[in-house]
Symmetry: C2
Amino acid sequence: MALIVQKYGGTSVGSTERIKSVASRVARFHRQGHQVVVVVSAMSGETNRLIALAREVSPHPDPRELDVMVSTGEQVSIALLAMALMELGVGARSYTGAQVRILTDSAHTKARILSIDEDRIRRDLGQGNVVVVAGFQGVDEAGNITTLGRGGSDTTGVALAAALSADECQIYTDVDGVYTTDPRIVPEARRLRTITFEEMLEMASLGSKVLQIRSVEFAGKYKVRLRVLSSFEEGGEGTLITFEDDENMEQAIISGIAFNLDEAKITVEDVPDRPGIAYQILGPIGDANIDVDMIIQNVGHDGLTDFSCTVHRNDFGKAMKILREQVAPHIGARNVSGDDKIAKVSVVGVGMRSHVGIASKMFRTLAEEGINIQMISTSEIKISVVIEEKYMELAVRVLHQAFDLERAPG
Amino acid sequence: MALIVQKYGGTSVGSTERIKSVASRVARFHRQGHQVVVVVSAMSGETNRLIALAREVSPHPDPRELDVMVSTGEQVSIALLAMALMELGVGARSYTGAQVRILTDSAHTKARILSIDEDRIRRDLGQGNVVVVAGFQGVDEAGNITTLGRGGSDTTGVALAAALSADECQIYTDVDGVYTTDPRIVPEARRLRTITFEEMLEMASLGSKVLQIRSVEFAGKYKVRLRVLSSFEEGGEGTLITFEDDENMEQAIISGIAFNLDEAKITVEDVPDRPGIAYQILGPIGDANIDVDMIIQNVGHDGLTDFSCTVHRNDFGKAMKILREQVAPHIGARNVSGDDKIAKVSVVGVGMRSHVGIASKMFRTLAEEGINIQMISTSEIKISVVIEEKYMELAVRVLHQAFDLERAPG
């Protein structure tokens, strides 16, 4: 008998039919003797409906009141799922975030979980009930309803699993696991049986939006065994997100190829190569609330260097304007150039730590296809390159093949 | 400066436009220097939508879970109204029933309020905020969400007014007050400036469904000054519901004519006139969960008497069957007859206590129109008669005229 936390997203509970099917799955686990805690999101479309209603009344709704409003979406889902479970003869009780005291800070619409009072849940589980908890929401010290921001239901699931020391946290979604890359681009892409938390973080931030990043960080911090599964298929084992010290890890060097078309690159050319220059360039960008992803500055020559960074495409125009009009004249840079027709492609894998030659293999593979690399950035477990946007799909395909990702590691 | 509790029903907050218009009214009171607590219902149609959704999942939804679900209707309304108030520059904070701890018993879907923790509301009012509270809902000792049953938002308003010792509880509805009778039947019907609680109770239970009965009882018990007003008209003074010892009472003998087409009468004929016979007749009716309204038994003769009662028309067939098949043979009654084409018409007024001749004036008025009286029942402040259904409108009209109700007293 295990204690399992299952999380179902908006599409998984998108209609009363779907809710009944979730109930059947939960009931099956329950009958197998497991203790089950279920976390659900709002029915798909409901959160947007509520936000639209709020905007009819107030173009910029008060965040506290928006949380009061939006949190009703999950409250409807928990009640419906609990009813559906009882209809199948399974004892069930629903709880809002406030009722099981998912204590958060007071940052309305993007709150962070501080603690969970799991006593009530344990008592219900002990009485043989399935416990259904509203995802995405909590309550602050003063009793105000808070929400965790979009995708926060994953975090609720993981936080509950951590608080209950659950044997596994299962995230049910519309994909059946984490893939070596996007199957729409590489049909041979393979579902990973396991992936490490660190790889998952790199994959997620690079565009494989299977899980909310914060929930993965949370799972890593509290050592929660996390599994991604399809809510539409039966019997799949999904992808288990593991710790590096797990015994059963696949011994792959590279786990996957991630990519991203959301960024634009900017280069400040011929910058005087002196201390403090990076701050003088990025300070005004940060002040304008623009996030910077890659930052590259190579060694200078003749007292000058080039400084490059990538920003989200939505911020490209704004960032260019700031750098051209404020920064360049001020620091005496020769020119500011930019390009928003770029792609970032990354190979990700904890194995590369102990294997030399991954970078050279990656660069050779791209060179053989005539793909020019514009920027390079590396971390412990990933190598990212910026290339021309039009080569993105080709790059992903040839890298997937070069690293043998279509074959499961022996 | 006064402390006012205002309650707005589902049609008054039925759209975001209506909510904005409620916000304008509340803002006006607030600017006049009043402290305002607003109680709102779910947007009209929302509660039914939620119940229908629940029924898709479970034909007989679990009451606890139904309350979790249905209570979201008011939660959306409070957030929208608070946003709309802030949009007008008025500080506002919304609270669910649980958040201001409207403590109820655990009778899900029909809970009763036990107490309210008004500290939080007072603190907000002290800071110059309008406080918006979800009607119809509360929380039990164990933290479960409860609802008060249909119409319960009136009760929430009155209970809050009692807890806060408010100067007035204003119930905004789609009529502009309590009338001497239904204006659709008697165009000359007149809005009452005041009505006593006892009269209101008689009027309400007799079919003038302006206020939920429980809220009127509550207001009487805690001496809450209650006023019924239109949410669609500006500047009306509505109808104030007063205590008999108030100074400014209208000195009317009769306040209004109520009527009711929901009942059917049943007579058990030639019943042996012995102790315990009423119980032998009504016991099986009560056991079948049938409510009885009027009960009449006249003095017997020759050891026999007739026993009559009225039941709701929906229960007529069932009650007839029980009395014919079980009761009559058992007690040796000669026959059971019934009629569901009846109307009950009542004159209501605290003034009749000290005025003789009200009954005879009523009976004479009906007799002059050739309307036969089938049953009579009286209480301290009302006289009810059962007549043929087809005479109902005529009876109401002539009585309204006979008691000079179209003219304001004094």
